[in-house]
């Protein structure tokens, strides 16, 4: 585990981990957006790698992927982009979110080399369930990377125990069935699920999938250690896209983005 990830785990809760797609709306804008997220209180960053066939993602992130692919984004370029972010002052952990095929084609060895060179802290592979991930999980440990595991409301008790026991960085609890995207209701036995997740995990338990407002997060107050927000942020970036890539309107767009964030980032307080 990197020192950045250790610090992350000791931050005051609720933790806040936003997701953005690398290369949307442009490579440069991704760097600026990452810094804006840190300024507004992000505890870590999930950097999504665009993929032609994003099985776990809904329309918002699918569209972001297509835009980023048009901009020539790739796993290797995205990792390298993190060095630019670090140079400009990004200190929070960065977790690379990539579908397995991209990692497979780059090669695991190459990935670990790049990750070390460019200050990556974690890896999340959304189409690699627990059973398939043992070796990669081990390899991440050896390279000081946190392999982020996911659990869903449909995950059986036994599997949840195993997943929680070996979880690194944080445990990503999926709050609803289906793909990523903003939604108004969540799986109904969520409280039980989160209780079980907390009981089996020794790392922070974060809730994600479909969150778009502070009110929604308040529903889970005290039941988890923090939140992941993806589609709602990516949607905002989509809206601001044209302004973000225009030199003249860029600063105004970043300000608008920060303003949006200040309204959704959960308020810090320590739960007793």
């Amino acid at each position: 585990m990197t020192n950045r990830m250790k610090e992350f785990q000791n931050l005051k809760t609720p933790l806040f981990v936003p997701f953005i797609t690398a290369g949307d709306p442009s490579l440069e804008a991704t760097v600026d957006l990452a810094l804006a997220l840190q300024n507004e209180g992000a505890s870590a960053l999930e950097l999504g790698i665009p993929y032609s066939d994003p099985l776990a993602d809904g329309p918002v992130i699918q569209r972001a992927s297509l835009r980023a692919l048009k901009n020539g984004m790739s796993l290797e370029k995205a990792i390298k982009l993190v060095s630019d972010m670090r140079e400009k002052g990004l200190t929070i952990p960065v977790i690379i979110f990539t579908y397995y095929n991209l990692l497979l084609q780059l090669g695991e060895q190459k990935f670990f080399e790049l990750a070390a060179q460019h200050d990556i802290d974690g890896l999340l592979v959304p189409d690699m369930p627990f059973e398939e991930s043992k070796e990669l999980h081990e390899a991440c440990l050896q390279h000081d990377l946190s392999f982020i595991s996911l659990a869903a409301p449909t995950t059986s008790r036994e599997r949840l125990k195993e997943i929680g026991r070996t979880a690194q960085g944080f445990l990503y609890c999926i709050s609803s069935l289906g793909v990523t995207g903003t939604r108004t209701s969540f799986a109904n036995d969520l409280d039980r699920f989160l209780e079980n997740a907390k009981a089996s995990s020794h790392v922070p338990v974060l809730v994600g999938f479909g969150l778009s407002s502070r009110e929604q997060m308040q529903q889970f107050e005290g039941k988890c250690d923090g939140f992941i927000m993806g589609s709602a942020i990516v949607k905002k970036i989509e809206e601001l896209g044209p302004e973000l890539v225009n030199e003249e309107t860029k600063d105004k767009a970043i300000a608008a983005f920060s303003d949006f964030l200040s309204k959704v980032v959960p308020v810090k307080k320590v739960y007793s």
């Binding site: 579908y99 991209l102 084609q105 398939e132 999926i174």
Partner: protein, 402 residues
């Protein structure tokens, strides 16, 4: 040699597996349990057999293609007539099997993906027969190209849902069907159309298609005093008809040939020759060979036959190629069209463009074999659905001639 794959993780050697989001794992486990229970249940087996016999019209004949054999002067050619199934292709074997499984598992709704619409029609047919609600995901681009099949599905009471993501074709329709399944796993069964996808799908589809191979083997042996054919040839899209007919012969001393779509030729880049030209990777939850860019973005395949137009291939085929048990070859659009014409003229059978790829390869193979040898072609479907394409093709050729 006895088949010991897939292993408990759904692996065929290094191929296969379950590369899916965590939210689906529960559904795949549930599916595997339901499937294993069903195939060990005598009542289920009886129901399935009853439906295959009295509804689909099985067993399908094994037809000796005497005139074609004579014309080529090589090996004797036999046709396993999957074109004579209800709805005109082998796809119905699988659709009936999975729909009965869905019912047995207490599901009320099925979803399916379709490219050209063949599997969509089969799924809609089975849904109508077994009283299931049916939604078919189809790429917007394919909906435009396959108007008539869209209409057929609607006639059968299915809802056809346009998919607008990615390249708006079969691969995207499959992604979307999986995504929708994730959000509705409780009451919905995903009826996959070929021997692809995450474990246990390739195994399930093979089970329901293996009836082709076991029938063909028994029929051939009966005609030839217990002997086996020398070779079996089948076309490969996702690989379901091929894995089905190979199932009867893979543990025997019989040569097996799988035929992929070479499209306009491998060198043009316009093809669906996954095994000839693809690399190992993950598509639709399975580790297999696929057409992809250097970086791993999945590429759009091309073939004149919509049913072979898939950028991946079932994991068991990847394994059979890797172990060299099966010889995989490519046939171009042009060769397939020519073979289709020959079969029409010699045997009075208009086969599907997909099947014509197998016929074209078999023509090459038969010529190189001796007259005391025999081969079987899996004639996976009939060509009525392709008449429009053939007609357009003919018009184009005529205009070039003038």
């Amino acid at each position: 040699m006895k088949t010991v794959y897939p292993d408990s993780k759904g692996r065929y050697g290094q191929f296969g597996g379950k590369f899916v989001p965590e939210t689906i794992m529960f559904a795949l486990e549930d599916l595997e349990r339901g499937f294993l229970e069903a195939i060990n249940d005598e009542d289920f087996k009886k129901d399935l057999e009853h439906e295959l016999t009295h509804y689909s019209g099985r067993p399908t004949p094994l037809t000796y293609a005497g005139k074609l054999t004579e014309r080529l002067g090589g090996a004797g050619i036999y046709l396993k007539r999957e074109d004579l199934n209800h709805t005109g292709a082998h796809k119905i074997n699988n659709a009936i099997g999975q729909a009965l499984l869905a019912k047995r598992m207490g599901k009320k709704k099925i979803i399916a993906e379709t490219g050209a619409g063949q599997h969509g029609v089969a799924a809609a047919t089975a849904a109508a027969r077994y009283g299931l609600e049916c939604k078919v995901y189809m790429g917007e681009e394919d909906i435009r190209r396959q108007e008539l099949n869209v209409f057929r599905m609607k006639l059968l009471g299915a809802e056809v849902i346009p998919v607008t993501s990615g390249t708006r074709t079969l691969k995207d329709a499959t992604n979307e069907a999986i995504r929708q399944w994730v959000s509705a796993v409780e009451d919905t069964f995903y009826l996959i159309g070929s021997a692809v996808g995450p474990h246990p799908y390739p195994k399930i589809v093979k089970e329901f298609q293996s009836v082709i191979g076991f029938e063909a083997k028994a029929q051939y042996k009966e005609m030839h005093g217990g002997k086996l054919p020398d070779k079996v040839v089948a076309c490969v899209g996702g690989g379901s008809n091929a894995i089905g007919i190979f199932a009867g012969f893979v543990n025997e001393d019989v040569k097996l040939v799988g035929v992929e779509a070479g499209g306009k030729g491998i060198l043009t880049g316009l093809h669906a020759a996954t095994m000839a030209n693809g690399r190992e990777g993950v598509i639709h939850g399975s580790l297999t060979y696929l057409l992809q860019s250097e970086e791993g973005q999945i590429q759009e395949p091309y073939s004149i036959s919509a049913g072979l137009d898939y950028p991946g291939v079932g994991p068991e085929h990847a394994y059979l190629k890797f172990t060299k048990r099966v010889d995989y070859q490519c046939i171009t659009d042009e060769e397939a069209l020519e073979a289709l014409n020959i079969l029409c003229l010699e045997e009075g059978i208009l086969c599907a463009l997909e099947s014509a790829h197998a016929v074209a390869q078999a023509i090459k193979e038969a010529k190189a074999m001796s007259p005391d040898e025999n081969l079987i072609i899996c004639l996976s479907g009939r060509g009525d659905k392709d008449v429009h394409t053939l007609f357009e093709q003919q018009k184009e050729e005529d205009s070039h001639d003038q």
